[in-house]
């Protein structure tokens, strides 16, 4: 390497460091703590960046923001009765500026209403009802017994159902939906992103997709039901019966496969369409139901781990 080349490299590194320093010079941090109802609602909106919410046992809401937009009043925290509202206001906002990183601590039993545009959202240990809406970003949340509604436009929705009584309504358009552990009621809607449900147990499950692949694994509780339909997605269901279940699978042109030894029958003598129906478990004990419908997607059902 020549001496001139070394000089050029050093100058370029200097330029990068000075530029980074200038950029950081505009960054601000924001801190605010307000009193809050332990069972109240916390509303958070952010247009770009990240929102991380965690629970604590104080009757307060603490807000810490990094890379906050310059200027006073661009982050507001308002408290009114049982509602605390946190807003990041970015006049003339455009995407791709890095955005604001919001770290919020809320009372454990608080309800949450989060709305973000180009920001990832995560919630941890919050046990109140949660309503999470993100246009372009990922949602990660812990779900307990209260309702959790999570909608993402294009990002993934990842839920840890930490209570078997969780009630979940999840939807995306092109992101993946993933749920782990158990849920009493779960509704998942997607267009093209996959739906992956690895559950310890489930009671009522409803899955609707257009072309997404669907995987369901877990124990179907006594008296529960699974309703799943897709146009062209592939469905794999590994459902362990609590006592037993009836199943009814219909497709127009997709294949039906199973590990119970049952044989799908043709709906029409000369046309397309096949159906597989039957029961698993001792006679009289199968009060759970599985119904699957597909146009061209294949379906596989198995009752063994």
């Amino acid at each position: 390497m020549t001496r001139g080349s070394d000089m050029r490299t050093m100058v370029m590194m200097l330029v990068v460091v000075v530029g980074w320093g200038l950029a950081r010079a505009g960054d601000e941090t924001f801190e605010r703590t307000v009193a809050a109802d332990p069972h109240g609602t916390v509303e958070i909106t952010n247009i770009s960046g990240r929102i991380e919410v965690s629970a604590w046992d104080n009757p307060q809401v603490q807000v810490h923001a990094e890379h906050a937009p310059a200027g006073q009043g661009n982050i507001t925290v308002d408290s009114d009765h049982d509602r605390v509202t946190i807003k990041v206001l970015v006049p003339g906002a455009s995407f791709g500026r890095g955005g604001t990183q919001l770290f919020v601590k809320v009372p454990r039993e608080s309800g949450l209403e989060v709305s973000a545009v180009s920001a990832d959202v995560s919630t941890r240990d919050v046990q109140g009802p949660q309503q999470l809406k993100v246009v372009s970003g990922e949602i990660k949340a812990d779900a307990f017994q209260k309702d959790v509604e999570a909608k993402s436009f294009s990002g993934d929705v990842i839920i840890q159902a930490r209570n078997p009584g969780a009630h979940l309504r999840l939807s995306s358009i092109s992101g993946e939906i993933k749920v782990e552990h158990g849920a009493a009621d779960l509704e998942a809607t997607n267009v093209s992103g996959d739906v992956l449900l690895h559950l310890d147990s489930m009671h009522n499950l409803r899955v609707h997709t257009t072309s997404s692949d669907v995987v369901v694994e877990g124990k179907l509780l006594h008296g529960g039901s699974i309703d799943a339909d897709t146009v062209s997605g592939e469905m794999k269901l590994r459902v362990i019966p609590d006592k037993g279940f009836d199943y009814d699978i219909s497709t127009f042109s997709g294949d039906i496969d199973n590990c119970m030894g049952a044989k799908a029958e043709s709906v029409h003598r000369y046309g397309p369409g096949s159906r597989l129906h039957g029961s698993v478990g001792p006679e009289g004990s199968n009060d759970a139901q599985i119904r699957v419908k597909s146009m061209s997607g294949s379906v596989r059902l198995c009752d063994k781990p």
Binding site: V90, K151, I173, S174
Partner: protein, 227 residues
Amino acid sequence: MSAGKYEPEDGGAAKGTMGDGTNGNGTNVSGTSGDGMRGNGRRKIRALRELQHEVTPPRDLWPQIQARLAQESVPVRPAPVRSPYARRASYMRVVAAAAMVAALGVGVWIGRYERGPSGQTPMVASTPSTNTAQAVQAAYQPSAKYVRDRAALVKSLEAKLDSLPPDTRAKVLASLTTIQKSKQELETALGHDPTNALLQELLVDAYQDEMRVLTAVHEAAANDKGI
């Protein structure tokens, strides 16, 4: 048509005999007035016995008819005495002819039905449908409100998409394309099997999915401005 009044759909004058006993020009065509009991100063007849027993025609035509018959001297064949079998055969021929006409009519009707009203597109046929949209209309007719709402959402879709981040915009467009493709596949399948309940249900779901995405795009764009 209003009560008691006939209004022709083409707006022209009605032709033929009117309900009031005229021919449409006000002329009485029956020759008697409405109750048939009075007219031209003749006496009223209240019983059959009051009618004349014999009426002499003004001109006797029989001599001329008789002369004409004699002139032509056409041998008159006696009416054939037909056996019960012959009568039955004749009856069967009529029945067979009627059956043929009926079968021909049914065939024509089926042919017209399969070709559709325009006589071009098979609606239910063993060969694949080439005009699936027409076939599906028989199974699923979106309401006027749906069509109106969808048109409004689609009209402003491009502007709304522009307000989304580029990667999200690309994913949403891909998803809308997926839904559109699914709708077309379902419509094609319904073209082959118009009464398939499974396909109809999935098609309705696909329409709802499309509306859900279109609405979500609008909401997302509104959120962007509202924050």
